[in-house]
């Protein structure tokens, strides 16, 4: 017996405790608690072990512990753990095991080595807990999670396909709209060129309006194309010399139109990472707006500068033009949203929507501050750590 039955009156109390403890262990149903000799024979077999493995103590006590493992493979594995326990004193592991009726259960096992006074191995205590329910749940969860991920992947794919179709559709719509539009514009001009002398001034005014509107629609289609194209593109990651980029945009925008009345002040701009082509588009749109909305002022003033909030580079374009009422600020960046009539300021209502799309792709934000008739300032930010997930 490994649980010693001490003799002698001094140990009487200890003996009682030992006996109680022993009985408790034997009757304990929730855990299999068994003792194994140093040679690997089963010495004690509690109720928990009986429930778990399906053997009576009569069938197993005195037998080799290998009987419990049923299969050679499992037995070899168990022998190895016993050996490790002998070497290091304790081993804990989880594994699938077989019951007497060959059904499986998932076991959490702790083997503790018991030593003699001379440190030689006396035997092993082996506590086994049935974790089948938890393990099954865990496995079911894993399957559910996998299914869920599959479903998410599938939905994402479907969404991407629909998105692509939508983009292709809007592209082809904008594309196919150009052809009849060119015809409308073309035939109006032919009428004007060939019959100008036969038409009175009202007829000529009407023709001019037709032509102007086809130009407007052409611009609209171009902007729509750019907009839908932008949705399909991934933002690249390159070095952007912002100062140079803005200087370049400004030169391009003011080319041809001699606009000496503009006072343009481009302050120092920190370099950033991002997609040069896309960010150039943002500058073009913001600068075009600044020029357009301040052009009617006596002394139009445009300032380009930058702020820094540690995490982001914030750039701004400030003008002293028409501005707008801040209560409409939420409409600014929507597709086809405009705060001015066509006869006040021409536009398609796509420029800022496009700018927003680009800045969002860079993980930044775009916003504006303005006062009606007192100019507007447009800000956009690009995170300093923008690296396109690379």
């Amino acid at each position: 017996m490994l649980l010693q039955k001490s003799t002698g009156s001094i140990n009487k109390k200890a003996e009682l405790i030992d006996e109680d403890l022993y009985r408790l262990l034997l009757e304990f149903k929730d855990y299999s608690i068994i003792m194994i000799s140093s040679e690997g024979k089963v010495l004690t077999w509690n109720l928990g072990a009986q429930y778990l493995y399906g053997y009576n103590s009569d069938e197993i006590v005195g037998q080799s512990v290998e009987l419990l493992h049923g299969e050679v493979e499992l037995a070899e594995k168990a022998a190895k753990y016993l050996q490790v326990a002998g070497e290091v004193g304790r081993v804990e592991y989880e594994t699938w095991k077989l019951k007497k009726d060959r059904s499986r259960f998932y076991a959490h096992i702790i083997i503790t080595t018991l030593y003699n006074d001379d440190q030689s191995i006396k035997g092993f205590g082996k506590v086994t807990r049935d974790l089948t329910v938890y393990k099954t749940l865990e496995e079911e969860n894993a399957v559910l999670k996998e299914n869920l991920e599959d479903k998410v992947r599938q939905r994402t794919n479907e969404l991407e396909i629909v998105n692509k179709e939508l983009e292709a559709f809007s592209y082809s719509v904008s594309h196919d709209l150009r052809t009849p539009l060119r015809a409308v514009s073309g035939y109006s001009m032919m009428l004007k060129e060939d019959y100008e002398n036969q038409l009175d001034s009202e007829a000529n005014r009407i023709i001019n309006n037709i032509v102007d509107n086809t130009k407007m629609m052409g611009q609209l289609i171009d902007d729509l194309l750019t907009f839908s194209k932008m949705a399909r593109l991934e933002a690249a990651n390159g070095f952007i010399d912002m100062k140079r980029l803005v200087d370049q945009c400004m030169t391009e925008l003011l080319q041809g139109d001699a606009q000496p009345k503009f006072c343009i002040n481009i302050l120092d701009l920190p370099a950033s990472n991002g997609d040069v082509k896309m960010v150039k588009q943002v500058w073009q749109n913001l600068l075009t707006n600044a020029i357009k909305y301040s052009a009617k002022k006596e002394k139009p003033n445009i300032e380009v500068g930058a702020l820094d909030d540690h995490k982001n580079h914030i750039y701004y374009v400030k003008d002293n033009g028409a501005g707008f009422d801040m209560k409409y600020a939420n409409k600014l960046f929507g597709v086809f949203q405009r705060l001015h009539r066509q006869d006040e300021f021409e536009g398609t209502g796509l420029g800022l929507a496009l700018a927003k799309r680009i800045i969002t792709k860079h993980g930044g934000e775009i916003w504006a501050e303005a006062k009606k008739d007192h100019g507007a300032t447009f800000y956009f930010s690009i995170p300093k750590n923008y690296n396109n997930g690379q």
Binding site: H175, R182, T214
Partner: protein, 149 residues
């Protein structure tokens, strides 16, 4: 077969009648429309260029000085016509200018890979369109020096 098909300066391949009229008008203004033939789709274009079918009487060696080619056409599209022109010894030196509404990057890249001589996006605005057509007509027919006599 009409002998005029052997003295063609410009072959216009265009399925849209309005666009064809605009192009012809612009070319006529700079006197380049006299020896112009308009074919209405890619299939007819291939028959003309390779002197087959409707144009079997034509001599293949009498190549046009310039081909103006639309991309989006029924049956055989412009890219395919371009591919065939540039892959045949007898026709690959003919200057081909793609004229299309498409700014699609893929179309542009594909066209250049196949050896297009120029790629022009048709402006919507009539004046710009006329200017573009007459300028490219003048350039390819009068200024450019082709390798054939």
């Amino acid at each position: 077969m009409d002998s005029k098909y052997n003295e063609v300066e410009i072959l216009l391949v265009e399925d849209n009648m309005s666009d064809a009229e605009l192009v012809t008008r612009a070319l006529r203004k700079v006197n380049l429309a006299n020896n112009l033939v308009h074919v209405k789709d890619g299939e007819e274009a291939l028959e003309f260029i390779f002197a087959e079918g409707r144009y079997a009487e034509r001599k293949i060696k009498n190549v046009p000085r310039l081909i103006l080619l639309d991309i989006k056409m029924p049956k055989v599209d412009g890219i395919e016509v371009l591919r065939q022109i540039k892959s045949h010894e007898a026709t690959k030196t003919i200057p081909v200018v793609i004229m299309t509404s498409s700014k699609e990057e893929l179309d542009i890249i594909k066209s250049y890979q196949l050896g297009v001589n120029s790629y022009v996006v048709k402006p919507v605005d009539f004046n710009n369109f006329s200017k573009a057509v007459s300028e490219l007509g003048l350039y390819w027919v009068l200024i450019n020096q082709p390798p054939f006599a």
